[in-house]
Every structure is written in structure tokens, then in C-alpha cells.
């Protein structure tokens, strides 16, 4: 079961869990802050809406299309 770090907090998840699913159970359960300051969470779940853009180990990725890996660092407020 991989353990990833979301906004500095560790979280252990089942193998094959997407980063989107993981961050929806951690912290404020949101993936990003909108241009007017609203917190947003994954919406479409299929790589279209871009609401789940997060930083994964320094790269901007879509959380719903990224699988959690052990030691992965995810930031929802980069």
C-alpha cells in the first residue's frame, strides 16, 4: 500500500488508487485554488475539466489520471 505526501501530510492508500481519490480524503479534500480564490475539487474524473491539476513531484499533472506511488509528493497549493 503506497504512502504519499499530500500538502506535507502522509497518507496511505490502496494500490492503484488515483491521486484524485487520495486527495479527496485528505486535508481540505480539494485539489486547487481557483483564480478568484475558491477551493476546487475533482469534477469530471476523466482528465477533461482540469480541476484536479496538482503538483506531483514538481510537475503539474492531472490527479485523476495519476496513480499514487510510494513517496510521491503532491501539492494542492503550489
Amino acid at each position: 500500500m503506497p504512502e504519499l505526501i499530500i500538502d506535507g501530510q502522509p497518507l496511505r492508500v490502496a494500490q492503484g488508487t488515483t491521486v484524485a481519490a487520495a486527495l479527496m480524503s485528505a486535508g481540505d479534500r480539494c485539489s486547487r485554488t481557483s483564480v478568484s480564490g475558491q477551493r476546487r475539487a475533482p469534477l469530471c474524473g476523466m482528465g477533461i475539466c482540469q480541476e484536479c491539476r496538482v503538483n506531483v513531484d514538481g510537475l503539474r499533472r492531472l490527479a485523476c489520471q495519476t496513480l499514487c506511488r510510494d513517496g510521491m509528493h503532491v501539492e494542492t497549493r503550489p
Partner: protein
């Protein structure tokens, strides 16, 4: 620079997998791309809380058994790079790939319409919630409202319930006539859908739609209109979507004819562009059975097995009739176009409100004056909504077709110069 592939298939859902497996016995070089980490598309999305049918697992196993099928997961098409050449990107690198024949199996996405509160955390698409649950989202003990339109609502509610959610309401906007027609056709659907309908008969409402999502930082309740009445339902999640829209961006960019937002294909699954085929939801909604047979036909045609392809036409015809009946059933109530309040955001990427948009006559004018559609989703969410709300024609995308690393895009310096 890679060697050209004989056959490039974009999308590894049922259609794409069927196409690859149909073409593989010929021994030609096949590249199968999918932007998800694992093949299966939406309906066969894998994950810790997914339950794949036997056929899906079989097909994935078969893919692995053909050495001439090269599966590129987490891989997306970023741009056109000349004649029969595409720029691709995966998490590690960007690269150019040439092909001789192409089969587009790009599937469909949900239509999401704006209503007050739809940007609250806790609100997702209906297919969106299903995808997130399959990917490991826990909904144990949560109260869920499923709303919008189409058979996808029942599938989504079933997945949520199976994973411990309490379905407090399923609000289908279509009226009794439409839903009756759908129910009459249900006998042809997989058993699960029938079970779902009976399971939720207590919670199921027709001619009902969400008018507002309530909450401060997160969703706390929704208001649902049913006739003259508005009920307020406390819940943790709202899964709301309004049918599916084919993903036709790459097809349009290539120059394939697209009509009513679906790729136009003939009996051979051939698009209007030579050596380019399309199969599955991107040619129009039809469900996985239709996608499988369309994919198989396209794969056979790509290896010049026309006779074998033609033998599948009756099967395709049968599933097409069923799909047509479904498509007619779920027309959208015009009230759904008027749900947005003046301050309801329509473009979620750039936070552009309904009031700013409504004065413009075309998508182009709206974009010019408000930055709507200039964000990361490149208008996929908001231009699809705008088509329903205002009748505006969605744009043709320029590169990148989705956000891509600059280092990837720089690879285009090896693309053919424009004519």
C-alpha cells in the same frame, strides 16, 4: 524519432481494444494509446474499487499476448506534427509518432451544465463520481444525490451504493414519456441497469432537476425542483451530469467531418479522411456493445479484411437501433438552460460568470471579451455548456490539445513546415 507504426489507435476503451485485437493477427505494428494509467476507457475503468466484467479482463490479457501491440498508457495526443504525424506526451517524455493508418476511439465525456453552487467541493459529474469511486474514492456512509439525465445516472448510483453510499435521491430531468420509452428498452440492457432501477425506485424521481447546490466551503445540501415543488435534500455529494458528448477535438483538427459533435463514419468505420477511421462513442453514443463491434470492424478494415468486417454489420445494426432509441429518450428540458444565476460561473478555469457571457452572440465574441475558454480545459467544459445554453458552436482546438510540457511542445520544431 520513432519508426512509423502501421496502425495507431487512440483510446483503449472497448472500441480501441477491440480494434487492436481485430488487427493484431495480421502481424502489423500497432500502437494503442490511452491517456489513463490503465486501459479500459470509462466504462471499464480499473481501480481498487472497480469491478470489471470478465470480458474486460479477457481483452486486457489478450492485448498483452500480442507482441505487435504496443500499449502506451498515460499517453495523450498533444498536437498534429505534419502529415500522419502526431506529437505525443506521457509522464516521462514527449515524442513524434508517424502512422500509416489511424483509428480514433476517443470516446465521450459528460456534459456538465452550470447551476448555482456547482463549483462547490462535493459536486462532481455523474460519470465523474463513478470514475472517482473506481479510482479509490471512499463514499462510505455518505449521502449522495445523483442528478442530470441518462442511463449513466443509474450506473453511477449503483457504483456509489455498492461502495457504501446512501443514495438519497436520483433526479432524472426527463419526463414520464421519455423515461417510459427508456424503460421499455431496458430488457436489452445489461442486467445491472434493471437492478439499479428497481433498487432506487424509492429514491428515483423523474421530471426533477437540481436548481442549486448549497454549502459554504463544501456541499451540504441540494435543492431539487419537481414540478411546482422544490425540496431541499441534505447530502455530502452531488453527482450531476447531462449525457455524453463525443470527444472530437483530434478528429476536427485532422480535418475529419464532424456532424452534431460526432465523427462521421461510413459502414467501414472510415471517416472522411483517407486512412483515418473512428469507432465507439466518438462516433455517437451507443454503449459498450456497439463500441466493441465498431472497433472490431475498424480493426478488420484497417488490415483489409473487408469480408470479415461486413459480416459484423448486422450485429452493429442491432446495437445501433438500441442506441438510437436511447438517444431520443433523454432530450433536455429547456429549464436547464436557465439555471445559472448571473453570478454563477460558467468558465471554471478563468472564473467567468454567466452575466459576463450572456450578452455575446458567439463563442468567439465571448472568448474575446471575457477570457472564457482560455484556461487549462481549453473550453471543453464551458464551450460544451455554452452550446446547450446559447447554441454557440464550439471552437476547433489549436495545439496543445491538452496542457503539455513546453519541452514536449518544443519537439514540434521537427514537424513538417506548414505548406
Amino acid at each position: 524519432m520513432s519508426r512509423p507504426v502501421d496502425l495507431l489507435i487512440i483510446g483503449a476503451g472497448p472500441a480501441g481494444m477491440a480494434a487492436a485485437l481485430a488487427a493484431a493477427p495480421s502481424g502489423i505494428n500497432i500502437a494503442l494509446l490511452d491517456d489513463n494509467p490503465v486501459p479500459g476507457g470509462q466504462i471499464w475503468r480499473d481501480g481498487p474499487q472497480a469491478q470489471l466484467p470478465g470480458l474486460a479482463n479477457d481483452m486486457r490479457a489478450q492485448l498483452a499476448r500480442h507482441p505487435n501491440i504496443h500499449l502506451h498508457s498515460a499517453c495523450k495526443v498533444v498536437a498534429l506534427a505534419g502529415h500522419k504525424r502526431l506529437l505525443l506526451e506521457d509522464p516521462e517524455r514527449g515524442w513524434l509518432l508517424s502512422y500509416h493508418k489511424l483509428i480514433l476511439c476517443t470516446g465521450a465525456r459528460e456534459r456538465l451544465l452550470p447551476f448555482p453552487g456547482w463549483t462547490l467541493p462535493g459536486v462532481t459529474g455523474a460519470g465523474g463520481l463513478q470514475a472517482l469511486i473506481k479510482g479509490g474514492l471512499s463514499v462510505e456512509g455518505e449521502r449522495v444525490v445523483v442528478a442530470g439525465t441518462g442511463p449513466l445516472l443509474l450506473a453511477s448510483a449503483a457504483t456509489a451504493r455498492k461502495n457504501g453510499a446512501r443514495i438519497v435521491r436520483v433526479a432524472e430531468q426527463a419526463g414520464p414519456g421519455a423515461v417510459g420509452r427508456f424503460a421499455m428498452g431496458l430488457w436489452q440492457w445489461p442486467n445491472k441497469a434493471i437492478q439499479a432501477l428497481t433498487l432506487f425506485s424509492g429514491a428515483y424521481r423523474i421530471a426533477a432537476h437540481v436548481v442549486e447546490a448549497l454549502g459554504s466551503d463544501r456541499l451540504e445540501a441540494v435543492r431539487i425542483q419537481m414540478g411546482e415543488r422544490v425540496e431541499e435534500v441534505a447530502c455530502e455529494r452531488l453527482a450531476c451530469g447531462f449525457s455524453l458528448v463525443p470527444n472530437v477535438e483530434v478528429a476536427k483538427a485532422l480535418g475529419c467531418e464532424v456532424r452534431d459533435q460526432a465523427i462521421v463514419v461510413d459502414n467501414w468505420q472510415a471517416s472522411t479522411l483517407t486512412d483515418h477511421y473512428a469507432a465507439g462513442e466518438c462516433t455517437g453514443f451507443g454503449g459498450s456493445e456497439l463500441a466493441l463491434v465498431e472497433g472490431r470492424i475498424a480493426g478488420l478494415v484497417a488490415i483489409d479484411r473487408q469480408d470479415q468486417a461486413r459480416a459484423l454489420w448486422p450485429q452493429r445494426e442491432r446495437w445501433q437501433r438500441f442506441a438510437d432509441r436511447l438517444n431520443r429518450a433523454f432530450a433536455l428540458d429547456p429549464a436547464l438552460k436557465r439555471l445559472a444565476a448571473p453570478d454563477t460561473l460558467v468558465c471554471r478555469c478563468e472564473d467567468v460568470a454567466y452575466a459576463s457571457l450572456v450578452e455575446h452572440g458567439t463563442w468567439s465574441a465571448a472568448k474575446l471579451n471575457t477570457r472564457c475558454g482560455m484556461g487549462a480545459c481549453q473550453g471543453r467544459i464551458c464551450s460544451t455548456a455554452a452550446q446547450t445554453l446559447f447554441g454557440w458552436e464550439p471552437p476547433v482546438l489549436r495545439p496543445p490539445f491538452s496542457p503539455a510540457r513546453i519541452a514536449t511542445l518544443a519537439c514540434l520544431d521537427e514537424a513538417e513546415p506548414a505548406a
